[in-house]
């Protein structure tokens, strides 16, 4: 007992330190450039610098990031409890369509009421998609990859079938400036003059992080995703947590769809999620299943989309547009393949948990 008793190394605390320093340095450099380009004319006149650092690039980044952030949070909630969710794309699309139908059918309501109704319906339909995923993968023990695929195909098929091309949603969320904060130069313009779902997404990152790591619910959820039997042996109902979190996660993906219809585009289009659910999944992995990490990855992916847009606007033709459109996907591949060695998925994800009989 004596020899082994004394060993207890705080190894884990040092694991990501170098990465954190690199990130911090890169972040400070980036912020400095942003402030210079948007306040000093000498920098602001350079086309290339404007493409990379202008307020409009950053605004676009945030807009492109919101559905990715929400989708990644959906993935985190599901996977942290042990349910693999590749169906984020389908949940998102279902949420978008639900929001659209809700909005169109309440066009005669006051605008804000109608939009909020759309949000509520998007959340609810997302949660229902989560419940469906739960029922398939927990109750009927379907392989979770298959179950996720079902969600994607189901959402694509049903929304395309039911979509009425003549329907028009009237109006969408507009930006709400936060008094005081919105006046901060550059930062205020980018962060504090946004429509509601964007604020909600940013707040949700903090909420999910706090929930997962500082509350009873979070501790139990993570235990279900890492070692469900350990959770079971202390009296936690593993599958109940899995159902609940998959539904909450689904509602966030639904909200991401709601964002596309009610805040970004204002209308529904067939297949309008266009792979965002998968990019969100990549952001979740890139971010090591951590809310802030995933949000950071989502913003990075959003930024590459913004670059594409800014290059187009600035009329830069030296770089073929097709190459620029590839950037998000290349970043995804590099991020996911290069970093997967360092990130760690919840140990029990994708595995059915059976209470009685089975393993000893």
């Amino acid at each position: 007992m004596s020899a082994a008793a004394t060993v207890a190394m705080p190894k884990a605390k040092r694991r990501f330190r170098t990465g954190t320093i690199v990130l911090a340095v890169a972040g400070i450099l980036f912020l400095t450039m942003v402030i210079l380009v948007n306040t000093v004319d000498a920098f602001g006149d350079n086309t290339w610098l404007r493409v990379f650092f202008s307020v409009s690039a950053l605004n676009f980044t945030l807009r492109a990031s919101v559905p990715l952030i929400l989708g990644a949070l959906c993935g985190i909630l599901c996977e942290r409890t042990g349910i693999v969710n590749i169906g984020i794309e389908g949940m998102m699309l279902a949420g978008a369509f639900a929001a659209f139908v809700a909005k169109v059918s309440t066009n005669h309501w006051p605008l804000m009421g109608s939009l909020l109704f759309g949000v509520v319906i998007a959340l609810a339909v997302g949660a229902l998609m989560g419940l469906l995923h739960g029922v398939m993968s927990i109750r009927y023990k379907m392989d979770q990859i298959i179950s996720g695929t079902v969600l994607i195909i189901l959402a694509a098929g049903v929304t395309a079938y039911l979509f009425d091309r003549n329907a028009v949603a009237e109006g969408k969320f507009s930006a709400v400036a936060i008094p005081g904060l919105a006046q901060i130069p550059v930062v205020g313009e980018v962060i504090f003059q946004n429509p509601p779902i964007t604020y909600a997404a940013l707040i949700l990152v903090v909420v999910v992080h706090y929930g997962l790591f500082y509350t009873r619910w979070g501790l139990r959820s993570r235990a279900c995703g890492e070692h469900p039997r350990a959770a079971d042996t202390v009296g936690i109902n593993v599958n109940r947590y899995r159902y609940f979190n998959t539904m909450i996660g689904g509602s966030l993906a639904g909200l991401a769809g709601g964002f596309l219809v009610l805040e970004a585009v204002g209308q529904f289009q067939e297949g309008m999620t266009a792979g965002r659910g998968f990019i969100a999944l990549a952001a979740m992995i890139f971010g090591n299943w951590m809310p802030f990490g995933a949000a950071g990855a989502a913003v990075l992916f959003g930024y590459t989309q913004a670059l594409q847009n800014e290059l187009l606007l600035a009329g830069v033709t030296a770089v073929p547009r097709q190459f620029v459109s590839m950037i998000p996907y290349i970043v995804t591949i590099v991020a996911v393949s290069g970093f997967v060695g360092r990130v760690r998925a919840p140990a029990a994800e994708g595995k059915v948990y059976e209470t009685e009989g089975g393993s000893e």
């Binding site: 007992m1 004596s2 207890a8 884990a12 509350t215 070692h227 079971d232 009296g235 760690r344």
Partner: protein, 507 residues
């Protein structure tokens, strides 16, 4: 009611049926306050099932449980915990990526305004660890802790929930002899403070050492009770198995001749890329059994994998019969090295669960005549071969066409051994050759291994059971943190000496 005569826990006529199996039948057990009750039985005797019922994880088919004389029904472990029952599971139920604090409070969290109160829990852990002499750092992450400390965390977890009845399921299986001694001291301390303990094991020596009373389980039934003051290892063993058992392996002195296996400066990394073997050099001669001892996870697995070609060595050389074998394919080593391998995990490496016994028996030879005819398989030859081996190695099965998975653990292992031993070989590598199988099969396999040695074959046995190493080996290699810390001739080896070496302490 007189407290000293009411059992704290009583199990009455418990029967538990799983589809196709009766795991427990009319089991009766009484646990008195402040006693250590040993529950003795072979693997598969139904000890763990019974305890999982008492802990509320399984529900009995019939029978009842009484705590302090009151009948209780446990739907989940939560109900059992509420009644003061705590369990340390054979496979620790700890979340590896979480801290000690998080693991201890899981399911019974202290919160302040909804926020987890880690400080309060850490303070309670420190208090418990001082009171019961269970040293542990509350903020350490489980996966960084050695096995012995993880076990302390499990005990603290039960005490944190105010358990008065502690169930320890095979707690000594993963410990060094010194750690076992430490655990026994903790158990005595707990008993001294009025806790009652059920100690599950299949190790006879330990039972006689620590228990106040012994209950023996066989085939899911209670077959008797014994008093450790009067019982002997032999009497307990025959109760466990139901017949006389020879506990020692009969063998003559080894007559080693030329070197068959030679390792020179082998270094390798584990699956996570961490160094697992550091500069390992070893020679195994024809006609001797070299045993590799060590606490699990000190490089034994990787050592076997390097020798058998399943793992890449970063440096060093493997030679078999003087032929260079470093980083060649497993088949090359099997065929050219004339070696065979009984792997430690028979389900992952030793057999194909869904294949028939006949097919399992030719996994290493199906590509050679007579089993292969050009590109096709000769089923007739395979079936004849299987029939012969099943008989010779006493594999109990209705037919050679039965799927491998439907055999019992002991018969599966005999099947693997039969396949590996049935070719002409010069080197035998056996990793955990008797893990999880019944005493009868252990006896059989041990005798087969000794017989191979006497035929002049070089044998390397890796085992985490010190008794097995002591029983079989002519020389004992002790591994610690990927290095060979010492090589001891069997005649000079003692349990205590090996235990110290296993803990990394070299005199």
């Amino acid at each position: 009611m007189d407290a000293s005569t009411t059992p704290v826990l009583e199990v009455r006529n418990i029967t538990k049926k799983f589809p196709g199996v009766i795991a427990n039948q009319d089991v009766n057990i009484r646990l008195m306050p402040g006693e250590i009750l040993a529950l003795l039985g072979e693997n598969g005797a139904g000890k763990s099932t019974l305890m999982n019922i008492v802990y509320g994880l399984y529900h009995p088919t019939s029978g009842e449980i009484l705590v302090n004389g009151e009948p209780v029904v446990f739907h989940t472990p939560r109900d059992a915990i509420a009644r003061g029952i705590g369990m340390v599971h054979q496979h620790f139920q700890l979340v590896p990526v979480m801290t000690v604090v998080e693991n201890v409070m899981l399911g019974d969290e202290s919160t302040k305004l909804g926020k987890l109160d880690r400080k309060l829990v850490a303070a309670r852990i420190t208090e418990l660890s001082e009171r019961y002499n269970l040293a542990v750092d509350p903020h350490a992450i489980i996966e960084d802790l050695p096995v012995g400390v993880r076990q302390r965390v499990e005990i603290i977890k039960a005490l944190y929930r105010k358990a008065d009845i502690l169930i320890l399921d095979e707690p000594t299986a993963v410990l060094t002899p010194q750690e076992i001694e430490g655990l026994f001291q903790v158990m005595e301390l707990l008993r001294g403070q009025g806790k009652s303990i059920i100690f599950i094991t299949h190790k006879l020596k330990e039972v006689l050492h620590i228990a106040d009373r012994i209950v023996v389980l066989r085939g899911g039934k209670t077959v008797g009770e014994a008093d450790p003051k009067t019982a002997t290892q032999a009497s307990l063993a025959s109760m466990m198995v139901g017949r006389e058992v020879i506990l020692t392996v009969e063998k003559e002195a080894a007559r080693p001749t030329e070197v068959v296996l030679e390792l020179e400066g082998i270094s390798a990394r584990d699956d996570l890329g961490q160094p697992a073997l550091r500069n390992v050099s070893l020679q195994v001669h024809a006609g001797e059994i070299v045993g590799v001892a060590g606490v699990q996870g000190n490089g034994q697995t990787e050592l076997v994998e390097v020798i058998t070609g399943l793992r890449h060595a970063d440096s060093g050389h493997t030679r078999i019969n003087g032929k260079e074998m470093t980083n060649t394919s497993p088949r090359h080593i099997t065929v050219e090295g004339e070696s065979c391998h009984v792997p430690e995990d028979r389900h992952a490496y030793g057999m194909v669960d869904s294949y028939s016994i006949a097919h399992n028996l030719v996994l290493n030879t199906y590509f050679q005549p007579p089993f292969a005819r050009n590109a096709t398989i000769n089923e007739k030859a395979i079936n004849e071969h299987a029939a012969k081996l099943v008989e010779k190695f006493d594999v109990r099965t209705p037919s050679v066409q039965t799927a491998g998975r439907s055999l019992s653990g002991g018969n599966q292992q005999k099947m693997v051994v039969a396949r590996e031993f049935s070719r002409p070989i010069k080197l035998l590598i056996a990793a955990q050759p008797t893990r999880g199988i019944d005493v009868g099969s252990i006896e059989f396999i041990h005798n087969q291994i000794v017989a191979k040695r006497d035929e002049g074959i070089a044998v390397l046995v890796v085992s985490s059971e010190l008794d097995e190493i002591m029983a079989l080996s002519d020389r004992i290699v002790v591994m610690y943190k990927g290095e060979i810390i010492d090589i001891v001739p069997r005649a000079e080896a003692t349990r205590e000496g090996l235990g110290l070496l296993m803990a990394g302490i070299k005199a």
